[in-house]
Assembly symmetry: C2
C-alpha cells in the first residue's frame, strides 16, 4: 500500500484568507447594500505598467510567427532578464550579485516553499512571529516540526517575537538555530530592518553556520535611501544567505507571475561525510529538474520594468500605494490608534483598541465601517491584538475607509 506524507495532517486547518473570505461573504449576504472596502489580502489593484503591457504584447506576437517562435527557454530564466536584475537591483546598489546567481521563477511563494527541497532534515528552523504563514506551513509539510501544537505554535520551530516592546526588531535566538527566515520590509508589520540589524543577523549566521532565507518582496517600497534593499548589501551575506524577490508587489505581477531567487556562489555547506557542497549547485539542479522556466511573455514583461520608462512607471505605481499608506497611517494616528509600518511598506500594523482580540476587531471593523483588514493573530501568536491594513487600493477608497474608521473610533487611545 502506498503511503502519503503524514506531516500534512499536522497542518492546522483553515488558512487565514479563506476564513476572512468566509466572514466577509456572510456579512455581505446579510447586508447586501453594504459598500465593503477590502484592505485585507495583500493584492495589488492598479493596472500593469504600460511598458510591461507593451513588452508582453510584443512577445506574444513573436510566438505567433515561426521565425520568431520560442519553445522551452532556459530553466534559470532568460539572460536578458537575469542581467537586467543583476545590474539594476544589485550592482547599482553596490551589492555583488552576478546574473548567473539569479534564478527566475513563477513566484516567490513557490520559491520560499521549494527551497526546503535542498535542505536536509534535522535543521532547527527560526521564524519571526508574526510571520508570513507559508514559511511555517511548508516547514510543517517538510517534517521540520515535531508534531505538537501549543498556543497556535508548532513544536520544534523557534519563534522570534516582533512587537512593540522590541520595536519590531526580532531578537537573536537564545538557542542556536540552523535556518532563519527574515522578511524586510516586513509582512505583516510593515516595519523595516536597519543596516545594523541585518549585519547582526549576518554575523550570527556566520558564527553559527546558519542559513538566512531573506524575503525582500517589498523592497521597492523602501523610501529611505540609506536602508538596505537586499541582504547582499550587508558584509558577509554572500556566505550565509539566499534572497527571494518578486515582481508581484513591485510591478503589479500578482496575476502575471514572476519572481526570482538569488543563491550566491559563495554559499557552501559541509555534508555529514565532510564534502563541501555549493547551494548554488543544489538549487540549480532542483530548478532544472523540477521547473521548466517562467513564461516567455512574462519574462519580457518583467524585463521591461528595468527600462528607463518602465522604472519611471513602477516608481509612480509604488508612490500611489505609498500615498495610501500615508493616508492610513496618519488617519489612524490622528484617531488615536497606535500604529507601525506604512513608511517603507504598503502595510500598516495597528494595535487593536480596548484590548480587543484581532478577530473581534476584524468583526467590529467590518460591522462598524464595512472595512476588511487582516487579523494579526492570523500571522502568529505574537500578532494577537494587532491588525493589518493594506495600502493596495485606490486613493479614493483608501481615503473613504480611513474616514469611516476615524469617525467610528475617534480618540480610541
Amino acid at each position: 500500500m502506498f503511503r502519503v506524507n503524514e506531516n500534512f495532517l499536522q497542518l492546522q486547518s483553515g488558512y487565514l484568507f479563506p476564513e476572512i473570505g468566509r466572514r466577509v461573504q456572510a456579512f455581505a449576504a446579510a447586508n447586501p447594500a453594504a459598500d465593503i472596502i477590502r484592505m485585507g489580502i495583500g493584492d495589488v489593484t492598479e493596472p500593469l505598467p504600460a511598458k510591461c503591457i507593451e513588452a508582453m504584447h510584443a512577445a506574444i506576437d513573436e510566438l505567433g510567427h515561426r521565425e520568431t517562435f520560442r519553445g522551452y527557454g532556459p530553466e534559470q530564466g532568460y539572460a536578458f532578464l537575469r542581467e537586467a536584475i543583476a545590474e539594476h537591483d544589485y550592482q547599482a546598489r553596490g551589492a555583488n550579485v552576478a546574473a548567473d546567481e539569479i534564478f527566475v521563477s513563477d513566484g516567490s511563494k513557490c520559491d520560499c516553499g521549494n527551497i526546503l527541497d535542498i535542505l536536509g532534515p534535522g535543521n532547527r528552523i527560526a521564524v519571526c512571529d508574526p510571520v508570513y504563514p507559508v514559511y511555517v506551513d511548508t516547514n510543517v509539510m517538510a517534517g521540520n516540526t515535531n508534531g505538537s501544537i501549543a498556543a497556535a505554535r508548532y513544536g520544534g520551530l523557534i519563534y522570534l517575537e516582533m512587537d512593540e516592546s522590541n520595536g519590531f526588531d526580532p531578537p537573536l535566538p537564545e538557542q542556536p538555530v540552523d535556518v532563519i527566515y527574515l522578511c524586510f520590509p516586513n509582512n505583516p508589520t510593515g516595519t523595516v530592518a536597519s543596516r545594523e540589524s541585518l549585519q547582526r543577523w549576518v554575523d550570527y549566521a556566520r558564527d553559527h553556520r546558519s542559513l538566512i532565507l531573506f524575503d525582500a518582496a517589498y523592497e521597492a517600497y523602501i523610501s529611505d535611501p540609506d536602508l538596505p534593499h537586499s541582504i547582499f548589501e550587508i558584509e558577509g551575506a554572500r556566505e550565509v544567505a539566499i534572497e527571494f524577490r518578486s515582481f508581484s508587489k513591485t510591478a503589479g505581477f500578482t496575476g502575471v507571475r514572476c519572481a526570482f531567487t538569488v543563491v550566491p556562489r559563495d554559499l557552501h555547506v559541509v555534508t555529514c561525510g565532510g564534502e563541501r557542497v555549493s547551494l548554488h549547485s543544489l538549487w540549480y539542479r532542483r530548478h532544472t529538474t523540477k521547473f521548466n522556466g517562467a513564461s516567455y511573455p512574462v519574462q519580457r514583461g518583467a524585463a521591461a520594468i528595468y527600462t528607463p520608462e518602465g522604472r519611471r512607471q513602477v516608481r509612480e505605481l509604488i508612490s500611489g500605494y505609498m500615498q495610501n499608506a500615508t493616508t492610513i497611517r496618519q488617519g489612524l494616528l490622528a484617531a488615536g490608534f497606535r500604529c507601525y509600518g506604512g513608511v517603507h511598506a504598503p502595510y500598516v500594523w495597528l494595535k487593536t483598541p480596548d484590548g480587543l482580540s484581532s478577530w473581534d476587531f476584524f468583526d467590529q471593523l467590518l460591522q462598524k465601517c464595512q472595512v476588511v483588514g487582516t487579523p494579526g493573530s492570523g500571522f502568529g501568536a505574537a500578532g494577537e491584538g494587532y491588525f493589518r491594513l493594506s495600502a493596495f487600493n485606490s486613493r479614493q477608497k483608501t481615503a473613504e475607509a480611513v474616514a469611516r474608521i476615524a469617525a467610528a473610533y475617534s480618540a480610541v487611545g
Copy 2:
C-alpha cells in the same frame, strides 16, 4: 550548522540534454558550414494557434486597465479553464472528471516532481525503462532510492523494461510496488497503451493499493479513436490514479507554460494511524500553500484552444507534426531500420544499426547526416541500442533529415 538534502549528491551528473548540447556545439564549432537538423529535444517549433495569441493579447489588455485588472487568481486555476478541460478532455470522452478535480499549473515537469511532496517515505517506486528522467531524478532527490547505483540504475527503484521483446508493453512488477509511473503515448518510445493494457494496470493498483501516476502529455497525438486518452477512461482508475497533462505539446506551450493535474476525489489512502485521507485534499493543500496560480494571460490562452476555432487550429498543428512522424517512420522503415512509435506520438524510436551503442549512433548520425537525435540510453539502461527522433520540426527539414539518413544508411537491416 545547517544541513542540506544529501540525497541530491546521489544524482548522476550530466543530464541528458546538456550533454547533447555539448556534443552538437563541438561539432558545429569544428564544422561551421554544417547545416545541422535538430530532432533531439522534444520541443515544438511551430507558432502558437492564432486563437491563443488572440486570447492572450486580450487578457493582457485587461491587465492594463484598472476596471478589468486582476491580481491573484485562484491557486487551482480559473474556473473558465478548469470547466473547459473537464468538459472537452474528459466528459466528452466519457471520463468522469469534474472541474474541481483539476489543478492548473505552470508545467507538468513541476507537477510530476512536486507530487512527491504529498507522498510519504518508504514507498516502493516503479518506473518504466526507458523513462522520462524527471520521474527518476525527483525520486532520488526525495530519498526514495537507497544510495546504490549499478548499471546506470538507482538501487531501490523498480525498473519495468519496455523493449522489442515485449512490444513496449511494460510487464507488471514481479514484486509488489506502491507507486507506478506510466506515460502513454510514451516518451521516449512513441508507443501507446491499449485499453486492455491500462485496465491491467488499474486492476493491479486496486489489488495492491498502489498509486498510478499517469503522464498523458502526448494524448493529443493519438490517432485511433478507440485508444484511451486518459487513465480515467479506464474502469476503477478514479480510486488509484493521478493524471498529468500539459498544453506544451498539444498547443505549442513549451515556452508559455501551462499544464494541469487531475486528482480524483475517489482517491484515498489509510494512514499509519488508520485515518482515511483524500489525496485531493493533500494536493489542494500543497497547491494552495506552495503555488500561486498560473499566469492569467496564459490561462486565457489555454482556454482558447477549447473554442471550436481553437480546436481546429490545434488539430492542424498536431496533424503537421504527425505528418513529420509518418515521414520519419516510413523513411526509416524503407531504409531498413527497425522502428517503433510515430503513429500516436511525435516520437520515432529506432533500433540502432550494426549493434551500435546509442551514443555511438548519435555521433555517427551527427557526423554522417548532420542530424541530432536523442540516444536511447539517456532514458535508461533498457534504452541502450535505441535512438529517438522527434517530429517537432518543419515539414521541409524533416524530409531533408530523412533523405540524408536514407542516403547514408540505405538497407541497414
